[in-house]
């Protein structure tokens, strides 16, 4: 028994991504049609010639019919799946395995979410009937993630004022990047003072520490690696896919200290082993990580091995993860500025890797790490919260064998 991965056996040959934002004039169906058609056109494979589909959505619809109906797909296998905020990545993972197994020649992973119509602040999941005795649904996501900040500050002796500077800089950086992205929900640079003083939501977090509630869709077409050059000169090879669900003990036993996601450490370790990565910070050209709230991105820098334990905040302040830093993190603006339509987010991250590693990102956010020859990108997608979550890590690359 063991996790062996499918390094270089499957490649992405086409991708599509809608703009993310307040799409009052578009339904989930509209967004699915747009993303599916864009990915199909990008790959040169007609929608009718794609053999199987994996559709990720947290709550915008149910069953395979949610995709087959708007696209009028003729009698194709369509799986609808959900794995909290890692839903989009989970659809890609399953599509890749289906192609790697030999069951299908091609598959599409597509994710969508239509969040704005409800009018709610933040996410609103639906729960099965319960006893009202386990805290589920009692508090909001920003509150749950806000637990990271004071715990981190206390453990590593960071003054709370300085901690706020660190969180502010993460939001500022992602808004800087989002301002260069025509698909992003928020396309303005935001002054640090405005971020710092934004209205409080939970704990140390203000509105600008939270990702955007958004509508959007993204899709990828995958084929066997040996067939990839039939469709594109620049395929993106899948190097590693790892998903773990934690035992959810962090909120049940005192060993957990709210300064790490053990699930992320486990999925990163598995992914690096599959891809043969030993020093992610120097080997990766970019990382798209799950910056649902600013302290999450800080902790992820350490959990993914981009920074030493207790040192991540210094790397943030010195700009090491900026667009022109050692390792650019969220060059597309991340969940913070690009927006977070749940089912689409994991594939949106992959869309940035697709653009950057193939040299197709817009001039103003092109990465020095790529022009200097790095060929690998990482996406990280997380669902749940500190103490109990699922975590996904992928590594993709523009060169086979690398």
């Amino acid at each position: 028994m063991g996790s062996h991965g499918i390094k270089d056996r499957v490649a992405i040959v086409g991708m599509g991504c809608t703009t993310f934002g307040e799409h009052w004039g578009k339904s989930a169906d509209d967004l699915l049609v747009e993303a599916a058609r864009a990915a199909s056109a990008s790959s040169g494979v007609g929608l009718g010639d794609i053999d199987a589909f994996w559709l990720g959505t947290m709550g915008s619809g149910v069953s395979g019919l949610m995709l087959s109906r708007p696209l009028r797909l003729p009698y194709k296998p369509v799986t609808r799946l959900e794995n909290m905020c890692a839903t989009g990545s989970e659809s890609l993972r399953n599509a890749c395995y289906a192609v790697a197994s030999g069951a299908y020649d091609s598959a599409m992973a597509i994710g969508v979410e239509k969040l704005k119509d409800s009018g709610f602040s933040g996410l609103a999941g639906s729960q099965p009937p319960g006893a009202g005795d386990d805290g589920r649904g009692e508090t909001t996501a920003p509150a749950n993630f806000s637990l990271l900040a004071p715990a981190y500050a206390e453990k590593y002796g960071v003054d709370l004022g300085e901690m706020k500077d660190v969180l502010t800089r993460i939001a500022w950086k992602n808004h800087q990047n989002g301002a260069k992205n025509p698909r992003a929900q928020f396309r303005k640079q935001v002054p640090r003072e405005a971020i710092r003083k934004s209205p409080q939501v939970a704990g140390m977090l203000g509105i600008f520490d939270c990702s955007g509630v958004s509508d959007g869709s993204a899709a990828a077409v995958v084929v066997r690696a040996e067939d990839a050059h039939r469709y594109t000169d620049k395929p993106l090879y899948v190097k590693a896919l790892s998903l773990v669900a934690g035992p959810a003990t962090g909120l049940a036993e005192p060993g957990y200290d709210f300064t790490t996601f053990p699930e992320v450490v486990a999925s990163a370790s598995d992914a690096y082993q599959q891809a043969g990565i030993t020093d992610p910070r120097s080997e990766l050209a970019l990382a798209e990580v799950h910056d649902c709230f600013t302290p999450t991105e800080l902790v992820l820098m350490e959990d993914l091995g981009f920074a030493q334990r207790g040192q991540g905040w210094k790397d943030v302040l010195s700009g090491n993860f900026d667009l022109n830093g050692d390792l650019p993190v969220n060059p597309d603006g991340g969940l913070k500025a690009f927006g977070h339509p749940i089912g689409a987010s994991g594939l949106r991250m992959m869309f940035e890797a697709w653009l950057q590693l193939r040299g197709e990102a817009p001039e103003e956010r092109r990465l020095r790490t790529v022009t200097e020859g790095r060929t690998l990108g990482l996406t990280h997608n997380l669902g749940g919260g500190p103490g109990e979550c699922v975590s996904f890590v992928s590594v993709v690359g523009s060169e086979p064998g690398a």
């Binding site: 602040s121 508090t139 206390e154």
Partner: protein, 197 residues
């Protein structure tokens, strides 16, 4: 004694005392219970709890009402805060689970009452977005004396009272009323009376 309760319907109870009464007195006198509460209740909060003042809710979905079958299945935990302790390794499970989180023993749990246990706040936050009759929600993560962790609300406390290391005790309170169904569960509150600890 006949006790008639008139609220959400009528309940009539006939109570008869026995000789055991003297040995089963409430260990905590009423005066001590009052002293352990907080008097800092804003008049507007009092009015809104009594239904005389509507407070604008957050832009969040209405809370779901409690369902009777799961509440009945977990009556010991929900109403008595009876957790479980693994008979193999002693690790507590809050709420009770069948598989031990530490040694993975299955169905080897013994009841572990925690309602009278004290705990310490290990981390906390203030949730200004969550739905509650008593905003904002003070959310704490508690580590109980003797083991076990619970994330729950802190009550009878002001925002600036919450801190890591705060000593708390448990109290059975209303969380929310949804679709006409009150949901009671346990909240933490600061230990204000030493209580011979």
């Amino acid at each position: 004694m006949l006790l008639v309760v008139l609220a959400d319907g009528v309940t009539a109870l006939v109570l008869r005392t026995t000789a055991a009464l003297a040995t089963r007195r409430q260990p905590r006198p009423v005066a001590a219970q009052i002293a352990s509460g907080s008097t800092a209740l804003a008049y507007a909060s009092f009015l809104s709890w009594r239904g005389f003042l509507d407070r604008e809710p957050p832009r969040r979905p209405d809370p779901d009402p409690v369902a009777a079958p799961p509440a009945q299945r977990r009556a010991g935990w929900k109403f008595g805060l009876v957790a479980a302790a693994c008979t193999r390794c002693g690790t507590r499970s809050l709420p009770p689970e069948r598989v031990c989180l530490e040694c993975h023993a299955v169905d080897e749990m013994a009841p572990e009452p925690l309602a009278d246990s004290k705990a310490t706040v290990t981390t906390y936050t203030v949730d200004r977005l969550a739905y509650t009759p008593s905003p904002p929600v003070l959310m704490v993560v508690l580590d109980f004396d003797g083991g076990g962790r619970l994330r729950c609300q802190l009550t009878d406390a002001a925002e600036d009272e919450v801190r890591i290391g705060l000593r708390v005790e448990m109290t059975f309170r209303r969380l929310v009323t949804a679709a006409g169904v009150h949901n009671y569960f346990w909240k933490a509150r600061p230990v204000r009376v030493a209580d011979g600890e």
